[in-house]
Protein backbone atom coordinates (compact mmCIF):
# COMPACT_ATOMS: atom_id res chain seq x y z
CA UNK A 1 0.00 0.00 0.00
CA UNK A 2 2.81 2.38 0.99
CA UNK A 3 4.67 1.77 -2.23
CA UNK A 4 1.51 2.49 -4.23
CA UNK A 5 1.00 5.77 -2.37
CA UNK A 6 4.60 6.84 -3.04
CA UNK A 7 4.21 6.48 -6.81
CA UNK A 8 2.49 9.02 -9.06
CA UNK A 9 -0.50 6.66 -9.28
CA UNK A 10 -0.79 6.75 -5.52
CA UNK A 11 -0.63 10.52 -5.50
CA UNK A 12 -3.57 10.71 -7.89
CA UNK A 13 -5.43 8.24 -5.70
CA UNK A 14 -4.86 10.35 -2.58
CA UNK A 15 -5.90 13.53 -4.40
CA UNK A 16 -8.95 11.75 -5.73
CA UNK A 17 -9.87 10.57 -2.22
CA UNK A 18 -9.55 14.10 -0.79
CA UNK A 19 -11.47 15.58 -3.71
CA UNK A 20 -14.21 12.95 -3.30
CA UNK A 21 -14.57 13.82 0.39
CA UNK A 22 -14.92 17.51 -0.48
CA UNK A 23 -17.29 16.68 -3.31
CA UNK A 24 -19.48 14.39 -1.15
CA UNK A 25 -19.62 17.04 1.59
CA UNK A 26 -20.78 19.46 -1.05
CA UNK A 27 -23.38 17.03 -2.42
CA UNK A 28 -24.72 16.27 1.07
CA UNK A 29 -24.88 20.00 1.80
CA UNK A 30 -26.92 20.48 -1.40
CA UNK A 31 -29.20 17.62 -0.36
CA UNK A 32 -29.65 19.06 3.15
CA UNK A 33 -30.30 22.50 1.66
CA UNK A 34 -32.86 21.00 -0.73
CA UNK A 35 -34.62 19.18 2.10
CA UNK A 36 -34.63 22.38 4.16
CA UNK A 37 -36.04 24.31 1.18
CA UNK A 38 -38.82 21.77 0.72
CA UNK A 39 -39.62 21.91 4.46
CA UNK A 40 -39.70 25.69 4.23
CA UNK A 41 -42.06 25.55 1.23
CA UNK A 42 -44.46 23.16 2.98
CA UNK A 43 -44.41 25.25 6.18
CA UNK A 44 -45.34 28.33 4.14
CA UNK A 45 -48.14 26.38 2.44
CA UNK A 46 -49.50 25.33 5.84
CA UNK A 47 -49.33 28.96 7.02
CA UNK A 48 -51.29 30.13 3.94
CA UNK A 49 -53.91 27.43 4.38
CA UNK A 50 -54.33 28.01 8.13
CA UNK A 51 -54.79 31.79 7.58
CA UNK A 52 -57.26 31.19 4.75
CA UNK A 53 -59.25 28.65 6.77
CA UNK A 54 -59.45 30.98 9.77
CA UNK A 55 -60.44 33.89 7.52
CA UNK A 56 -63.30 31.81 6.10
CA UNK A 57 -64.54 29.91 9.17
CA UNK A 58 -63.56 32.18 12.08
CA UNK A 59 -62.69 28.99 13.97
CA UNK A 60 -59.24 28.36 15.46
CA UNK A 61 -59.98 24.63 15.83
CA UNK A 62 -60.86 24.24 12.16
CA UNK A 63 -57.87 26.29 11.07
CA UNK A 64 -55.48 24.18 13.17
CA UNK A 65 -57.11 21.02 11.93
CA UNK A 66 -56.63 22.17 8.31
CA UNK A 67 -52.96 22.83 9.05
CA UNK A 68 -52.46 19.41 10.59
CA UNK A 69 -54.37 17.84 7.69
CA UNK A 70 -51.86 19.34 5.26
CA UNK A 71 -49.08 17.47 7.05
CA UNK A 72 -50.53 14.30 5.59
CA UNK A 73 -49.80 15.54 2.06
CA UNK A 74 -46.10 14.80 1.76
CA UNK A 75 -45.12 17.53 4.25
CA UNK A 76 -44.22 14.94 6.91
CA UNK A 77 -41.42 13.74 4.63
CA UNK A 78 -39.64 17.06 5.13
CA UNK A 79 -40.99 18.24 8.50
CA UNK A 80 -41.05 16.51 11.87
CA UNK A 81 -44.81 16.43 12.57
CA UNK A 82 -44.38 16.42 16.37
CA UNK A 83 -42.49 19.75 16.24
CA UNK A 84 -45.10 21.75 14.37
CA UNK A 85 -46.59 24.69 16.28
CA UNK A 86 -49.62 26.41 14.80
CA UNK A 87 -50.72 29.81 16.02
CA UNK A 88 -53.58 31.73 14.51
CA UNK A 89 -55.04 35.04 15.61
CA UNK A 90 -57.12 37.99 14.51
CA UNK A 91 -55.32 41.25 13.84
CA UNK A 92 -57.67 44.03 12.81
CA UNK A 93 -59.39 42.85 9.66
CA UNK A 94 -56.93 40.05 9.04
CA UNK A 95 -56.38 36.46 10.07
CA UNK A 96 -52.71 35.97 10.85
CA UNK A 97 -51.09 32.57 11.10
CA UNK A 98 -47.64 31.72 12.39
CA UNK A 99 -46.21 28.24 11.91
CA UNK A 100 -43.04 26.91 13.47
CA UNK A 101 -41.59 23.58 12.45
CA UNK A 102 -38.35 21.67 12.57
CA UNK A 103 -37.06 20.16 9.32
CA UNK A 104 -36.66 16.37 9.12
CA UNK A 105 -32.87 16.74 8.67
CA UNK A 106 -32.14 19.07 11.56
CA UNK A 107 -28.40 18.52 11.82
CA UNK A 108 -25.74 18.61 9.14
CA UNK A 109 -22.49 17.51 10.80
CA UNK A 110 -21.93 20.35 13.29
CA UNK A 111 -24.45 22.71 11.72
CA UNK A 112 -27.94 22.73 13.25
CA UNK A 113 -30.73 23.64 10.88
CA UNK A 114 -32.77 26.49 12.37
CA UNK A 115 -36.46 26.21 13.24
CA UNK A 116 -38.55 27.27 10.27
CA UNK A 117 -41.01 30.06 11.05
CA UNK A 118 -43.49 31.20 8.42
CA UNK A 119 -46.37 33.64 8.62
CA UNK A 120 -49.31 34.38 6.40
CA UNK A 121 -52.12 36.87 6.42
CA UNK A 122 -55.57 36.75 4.85
CA UNK A 123 -58.37 39.28 5.10
CA UNK A 124 -61.32 37.96 7.09
CA UNK A 125 -63.97 36.79 4.66
CA UNK A 126 -66.78 39.04 5.91
CA UNK A 127 -64.68 42.14 5.34
CA UNK A 128 -64.30 41.25 1.68
CA UNK A 129 -67.92 40.40 1.11
CA UNK A 130 -70.42 43.15 0.77
CA UNK A 131 -72.89 42.97 3.65
CA UNK A 132 -72.52 40.99 6.83
CA UNK A 133 -71.02 37.62 7.57
CA UNK A 134 -74.54 36.15 7.79
CA UNK A 135 -74.77 36.47 4.03
CA UNK A 136 -72.03 33.92 3.57
CA UNK A 137 -73.36 31.28 1.22
CA UNK A 138 -70.39 28.91 1.11
CA UNK A 139 -69.90 25.92 3.37
CA UNK A 140 -68.09 26.30 6.67
Amino acid sequence: MRSVLKTQKGQVMVEFAIAMIIFMLFVFALFAFGMWGAASFFTQEIAHEVARKYAVTDSVTQAESAGKGLMGRMAYVFIKPETIQIEVRKEGTSAVSEIKAKPRIDKYFVFHMPYITKTSEATLEHYIREGSKDQYVGRY
Binding site: Q11, V12, E15, F16, A19, I22, F23, F26, V27, L30, F33, G34, G37, F41, H48, A51, R52, S120, E121, A122, T123, I128, R129, E130, Q135, V137, G138
Partner: protein, 134 residues
Protein backbone atom coordinates in the same frame (compact mmCIF):
# COMPACT_ATOMS: atom_id res chain seq x y z
CA UNK B 1 -1.51 28.74 -6.03
CA UNK B 2 -1.10 29.17 -9.80
CA UNK B 3 1.82 26.77 -9.72
CA UNK B 4 -0.32 24.12 -8.06
CA UNK B 5 -3.13 24.62 -10.55
CA UNK B 6 -0.75 24.47 -13.54
CA UNK B 7 0.86 21.25 -12.33
CA UNK B 8 -0.75 17.87 -12.65
CA UNK B 9 -1.16 17.79 -8.88
CA UNK B 10 -3.84 20.46 -8.99
CA UNK B 11 -5.85 18.97 -11.84
CA UNK B 12 -8.19 16.95 -9.61
CA UNK B 13 -8.90 19.97 -7.43
CA UNK B 14 -9.66 22.08 -10.50
CA UNK B 15 -11.97 19.36 -11.75
CA UNK B 16 -13.71 19.23 -8.35
CA UNK B 17 -14.13 23.01 -8.36
CA UNK B 18 -15.63 22.90 -11.88
CA UNK B 19 -17.95 20.06 -10.86
CA UNK B 20 -19.06 22.02 -7.77
CA UNK B 21 -19.76 25.15 -9.84
CA UNK B 22 -21.73 23.07 -12.35
CA UNK B 23 -23.73 21.58 -9.49
CA UNK B 24 -24.49 25.03 -8.05
CA UNK B 25 -25.68 26.26 -11.47
CA UNK B 26 -27.78 23.12 -11.85
CA UNK B 27 -29.31 23.58 -8.39
CA UNK B 28 -30.04 27.28 -9.04
CA UNK B 29 -31.82 26.34 -12.27
CA UNK B 30 -33.82 23.65 -10.42
CA UNK B 31 -34.88 26.21 -7.79
CA UNK B 32 -35.85 28.67 -10.54
CA UNK B 33 -37.99 26.08 -12.35
CA UNK B 34 -39.63 25.17 -9.05
CA UNK B 35 -40.39 28.87 -8.39
CA UNK B 36 -41.82 29.24 -11.89
CA UNK B 37 -44.12 26.24 -11.41
CA UNK B 38 -45.30 27.42 -7.96
CA UNK B 39 -45.97 30.92 -9.35
CA UNK B 40 -48.03 29.35 -12.13
CA UNK B 41 -49.94 27.32 -9.51
CA UNK B 42 -50.49 30.36 -7.31
CA UNK B 43 -51.88 32.54 -10.09
CA UNK B 44 -54.32 29.74 -10.97
CA UNK B 45 -55.35 29.72 -7.32
CA UNK B 46 -55.78 33.52 -7.32
CA UNK B 47 -57.96 33.34 -10.45
CA UNK B 48 -60.09 30.54 -8.99
CA UNK B 49 -60.58 32.27 -5.63
CA UNK B 50 -61.52 35.56 -7.32
CA UNK B 51 -63.91 33.90 -9.77
CA UNK B 52 -65.49 31.76 -7.06
CA UNK B 53 -66.02 34.76 -4.78
CA UNK B 54 -67.71 36.74 -7.55
CA UNK B 55 -69.85 33.74 -8.43
CA UNK B 56 -70.98 33.18 -4.83
CA UNK B 57 -71.70 36.79 -3.97
CA UNK B 58 -72.87 38.12 -7.34
CA UNK B 59 -70.42 40.95 -6.99
CA UNK B 60 -67.51 41.52 -9.35
CA UNK B 61 -65.89 43.97 -6.91
CA UNK B 62 -66.00 41.35 -4.13
CA UNK B 63 -64.35 38.89 -6.51
CA UNK B 64 -61.63 41.38 -7.42
CA UNK B 65 -61.06 42.19 -3.74
CA UNK B 66 -60.73 38.51 -2.90
CA UNK B 67 -58.32 37.94 -5.81
CA UNK B 68 -56.20 40.90 -4.68
CA UNK B 69 -56.19 39.58 -1.11
CA UNK B 70 -55.10 36.09 -2.20
CA UNK B 71 -52.46 37.65 -4.47
CA UNK B 72 -51.09 39.62 -1.51
CA UNK B 73 -51.06 36.42 0.52
CA UNK B 74 -49.33 34.14 -1.98
CA UNK B 75 -47.32 36.47 -4.21
CA UNK B 76 -46.82 39.68 -2.24
CA UNK B 77 -45.76 42.56 -4.46
CA UNK B 78 -45.66 40.49 -7.64
CA UNK B 79 -49.17 40.98 -9.00
CA UNK B 80 -49.77 44.50 -10.34
CA UNK B 81 -53.13 46.17 -9.75
CA UNK B 82 -53.97 45.85 -13.46
CA UNK B 83 -52.88 42.20 -13.39
CA UNK B 84 -56.27 41.11 -12.07
CA UNK B 85 -59.26 41.44 -14.35
CA UNK B 86 -62.73 40.23 -13.51
CA UNK B 87 -65.70 40.54 -15.80
CA UNK B 88 -69.04 39.07 -16.69
CA UNK B 89 -69.51 37.27 -20.00
CA UNK B 90 -72.94 36.53 -21.37
CA UNK B 91 -73.60 34.11 -24.18
CA UNK B 92 -76.98 32.99 -25.57
CA UNK B 93 -78.59 31.55 -22.46
CA UNK B 94 -75.89 31.53 -19.80
CA UNK B 95 -73.80 34.08 -18.02
CA UNK B 96 -70.38 33.54 -16.56
CA UNK B 97 -67.92 35.44 -14.48
CA UNK B 98 -64.34 35.29 -15.68
CA UNK B 99 -61.32 36.09 -13.55
CA UNK B 100 -58.02 36.62 -15.34
CA UNK B 101 -54.68 37.04 -13.64
CA UNK B 102 -51.47 38.08 -15.37
CA UNK B 103 -48.04 38.19 -13.78
CA UNK B 104 -44.82 39.38 -15.35
CA UNK B 105 -42.42 36.69 -14.16
CA UNK B 106 -38.73 37.62 -14.11
CA UNK B 107 -36.18 34.82 -14.11
CA UNK B 108 -33.58 34.82 -11.32
CA UNK B 109 -35.16 37.86 -9.69
CA UNK B 110 -33.99 36.52 -6.30
CA UNK B 111 -30.36 36.84 -7.44
CA UNK B 112 -30.54 40.11 -9.37
CA UNK B 113 -33.06 42.94 -9.05
CA UNK B 114 -35.16 42.98 -12.21
CA UNK B 115 -34.09 39.44 -13.00
CA UNK B 116 -32.72 38.13 -16.28
CA UNK B 117 -35.39 38.06 -18.96
CA UNK B 118 -38.83 36.80 -18.13
CA UNK B 119 -42.21 35.86 -19.42
CA UNK B 120 -45.82 36.70 -18.82
CA UNK B 121 -47.81 34.09 -16.90
CA UNK B 122 -51.52 34.01 -17.36
CA UNK B 123 -54.37 32.17 -15.62
CA UNK B 124 -58.10 32.23 -16.17
CA UNK B 125 -61.02 30.85 -14.15
CA UNK B 126 -64.59 30.68 -15.36
CA UNK B 127 -67.49 30.30 -12.96
CA UNK B 128 -71.24 30.51 -13.51
CA UNK B 129 -72.80 33.82 -12.56
CA UNK B 130 -74.38 33.76 -9.09
CA UNK B 131 -77.99 33.14 -10.28
CA UNK B 132 -76.86 30.03 -12.16
CA UNK B 133 -75.86 28.57 -8.80
CA UNK B 134 -79.43 28.56 -7.52
Amino acid sequence: MLGVIRSRKGSIFVETAVACITLVVFLTCCVEIFTLITTEMYISKIAREGGREASLTGSESAGAAKARDVANQYLPGKVQSDGIRIYKAVDENKSHVICEVTVDYRFFSSLRSGGIGGRSLHAQAVYPWWDENM
